[in-house]
Subunit: 116 residues, 2 copies
C-alpha cells in the first residue's frame, strides 16, 4: 500500500545558504513579487494553482523555482498538489525587517500606480 | 569664459519614475551592493575613483549606470570628477525602511560570511 503523499522532495537552500543577493534578485521580478505578495496575503501554504499569473505555465514554474532556490519560498508536495509558503522565519532571522519592507513597498507602489 | 563645472547632465529617473523592481534588481548584484554600502558609509557624495571594485573599469561604469538608472544613486559631474550619492530622500519617501533593511542585511551577511 502506498501513501497519498509523494516522497518527492524539492531542493531548498538551508537557512545559512540563503544569500541576500539571491533574495533581492528573486524579488526583483514583477511576477515573482506578485507571487510573494499573494503568499504573504494568504498567510499559509497555498497551491500553485491558487496563484494565477498572466504568463505560461512553464514561465510560472520557472518563477516559483527561482523563489524556491533563492530561499524565499518553500515548496512541498502534498499528494498531487505542490504547496508554497514564504520562508518567513528564515528570512526574518537572516534579514530582519527586509521582507516586510519589500511587501510594504510593493503595496504602496501598487496603490500609487493604481495597478493593485 | 567657461566655468570649470561641466554642463553635462546624466539621465536620472524622477522620484515617481523609480520602481521597486528596478531598485531590487540594482541591489541584487554583489558589486553594486558593495558600492551602495560604501556610499552609505561615506554619508556624502564620493567620486567613482573612491570606490575600488575588483572588476574592470568598464564593468564598474556599468554597475554605476544600473544604480543611477534604477534611481538608487545620483551621479553628478563636478569638473572632471563624477560624483555619486545615494538618493536616500527619494528611496525613503517611496519605500520606507527598505534601504536601511537592505544595508543592515548586507552588513550582517558580510559579518556572517566573514567577507566584510
Amino acid at each position: 500500500m502506498t501513501t497519498a503523499t509523494s516522497p518527492r522532495e524539492l531542493a531548498h537552500p538551508a537557512r545559512d545558504e540563503i544569500r541576500l543577493e539571491g533574495v533581492l534578485h528573486a524579488l526583483s521580478d514583477p511576477m515573482r513579487l506578485c507571487v510573494v505578495r499573494e503568499l504573504a496575503a494568504a498567510g499559509s501554504e497555498v497551491a500553485c494553482s491558487y496563484i494565477e499569473l498572466p504568463v505560461t505555465k512553464s514561465t510560472t514554474t520557472h518563477h516559483f523555482r527561482v523563489l524556491r532556490e533563492s530561499g524565499v519560498i518553500r515548496q512541498t508536495y502534498r499528494g498531487t498538489a505542490k504547496m508554497n509558503g514564504i520562508r518567513r522565519a528564515d528570512l526574518d532571522a537572516l534579514f530582519p525587517g527586509l521582507l516586510d519592507a519589500v511587501l510594504s513597498a510593493a503595496e504602496s507602489q501598487a496603490a500609487r500606480l493604481d495597478t493593485a
